[in-house]
């Protein structure tokens, strides 16, 4: 391959120029065009095809999470800076007038809002754990879904979105079964992305935990090899972008949501998620911005 130049600005400009993304005034909240969506759906179909014999059960939740589950999940202990809680107006007619007047005058109107019973989904898999509370069968459970997730990290980098789709598989069961499943999918995920001609590599990773305590949590996570990512250069060669991540939670969610194996032990959980928009951007960056011109073997996989 000839030398590819990587930059966040040039990727954004090219995506806009080819109408693949549709700019809006807030960073990380752009729309997606028809061709972008077609590629995203085709990649999703490919994931479905390669996993069709796994016997995964589909669950679909809205892109919001009930606040009790959100609070219980301990997301705020690790990532208070990324969370998004939904606020709404609950006032009287007079107070509504006040709200409208403030908005029209360009004044701050946050004091007219109060917290609702929902938060934006911080990860696609969170509602699955309470849904699996109790004792799982001997062979455990395997669930999949695709959902929008929210992360409060506005950025001009096209790969860092405030809202994006994650295609996830979640495995719940005995520790050794969950660990093996995570390792098998790690290999499979890497092979899948390589088969699409993406220069993918994999590495041990850590989540962007908050603060100094977070640096310790990140070091712990790396030490224990609890998270792996598959990375592809998209906006930088030196710092490739994570397009897929594999997380082994050990008994974290089992303990919080009361999930047990038939022998009465706490169930372990793991999940893997493809960052769908990032995979699509990696394909555009690697093969060019016009899918009709992509190599035949890539097109054959995505448009069989």
């Amino acid at each position: 391959m000839t030398d590819v130049e990587y930059s966040s600005e040039s990727l954004y400009d090219e995506l806009v120029r080819h109408k693949l993304i549709l700019p809006v005034s807030e960073p990380g909240a752009f729309g997606r065009g028809a061709v972008f969506e077609d590629v995203l759906e085709r990649f999703g179909d490919l994931v479905t095809r390669i996993s069709k014999n796994d016997g995964a059960e589909r669950m679909q939740f809205p892109p919001i999470l009930d606040r009790k589950t959100f609070e219980k999940s301990e997301f705020l202990d690790s990532f208070p800076h990324l969370a998004g809680t939904v606020f709404s107006f609950k006032g009287t007619e007079a107070e509504a007038k006040e709200l409208q007047a403030k908005v029209k005058a360009g004044e701050n109107w946050e004091d007219t809002q109060s917290m609702t019973g929902v938060a934006l989904a911080p990860a696609a898999c969170y509602p699955v754990y309470p849904a699996c509370a109790g004792t799982v069968p001997d062979e455990g459970r395997l669930v999949y879904m695709q959902n929008w997730v929210f992360r409060h990290e506005p950025s001009p980098e096209p790969t860092r979105m405030q809202s994006f789709r994650c295609r996830e598989f979640i495995r719940i069961g005995k520790p050794e079964a969950v660990f093996e499943w995570r390792n098998a999918w790690h290999k499979r995920g890497l092979e899948l992305l390589l088969s699409l001609g993406l220069p993918a590599t994999s590495d041990v990773a850590a989540d962007p935990f908050f603060g100094r305590g977070g640096r310790m949590l990140a070091a712990n996570q790396k030490d224990q090899k609890l998270k792996f990512e598959v990375l592809v250069p998209v906006i930088s060669k030196e710092n490739p972008t994570a397009v897929c991540s594999f997380n082994y939670h050990q008994d974290h969610f089992g303990k919080i949501f009361g999930i047990y194996t038939p022998d009465g032990e706490l169930a372990h959980t793991a999940c893997l998620g493809f960052g769908m928009e990032r995979v699509v951007m990696a394909l555009f960056k690697t093969h060019g911005f016009v899918p009709a011109e992509w190599p035949k073997y890539v097109r054959d996989l995505l448009w069989p």
């Binding site: 305590g213 640096r215 310790m216 949590l217 070091a219 712990n220 996570q221 030490d223 224990q224």
Partner: protein, 80 residues
């Protein structure tokens, strides 16, 4: 110092066993210390001993036993 470390572990460590029954070299993670609890232990130690753990010390093995914690604090306070 060991008594202060033990009392912080008792208050913040959320151990699944009584700290009094553990030796100074016992593995605290085996005794139920979670990653999040170890962060609270770390912050409480900083307050108690008026120290700040540098990034290189914000690691799992630094907080794995009473002895390991004591060694880290001694390093930061010049063995005082």
């Amino acid at each position: 110092m060991v008594e202060d470390i033990r009392s912080i572990l008792k208050e913040h460590g959320k151990l699944s066993v009584d700290i009094a029954g553990l030796s100074d070299d016992a593995d605290l993670y085996q005794a139920g210390l979670t990653s999040h609890a170890s962060v609270n232990v770390m912050l409480a130690l900083e307050g108690k001993f008026d120290i700040e753990f540098p990034d290189r010390m914000l690691k799992r093995n630094v907080f794995e036993s009473v002895s390991a914690i004591r060694a880290a604090i001694e390093e930061l306070t010049g063995g005082a």
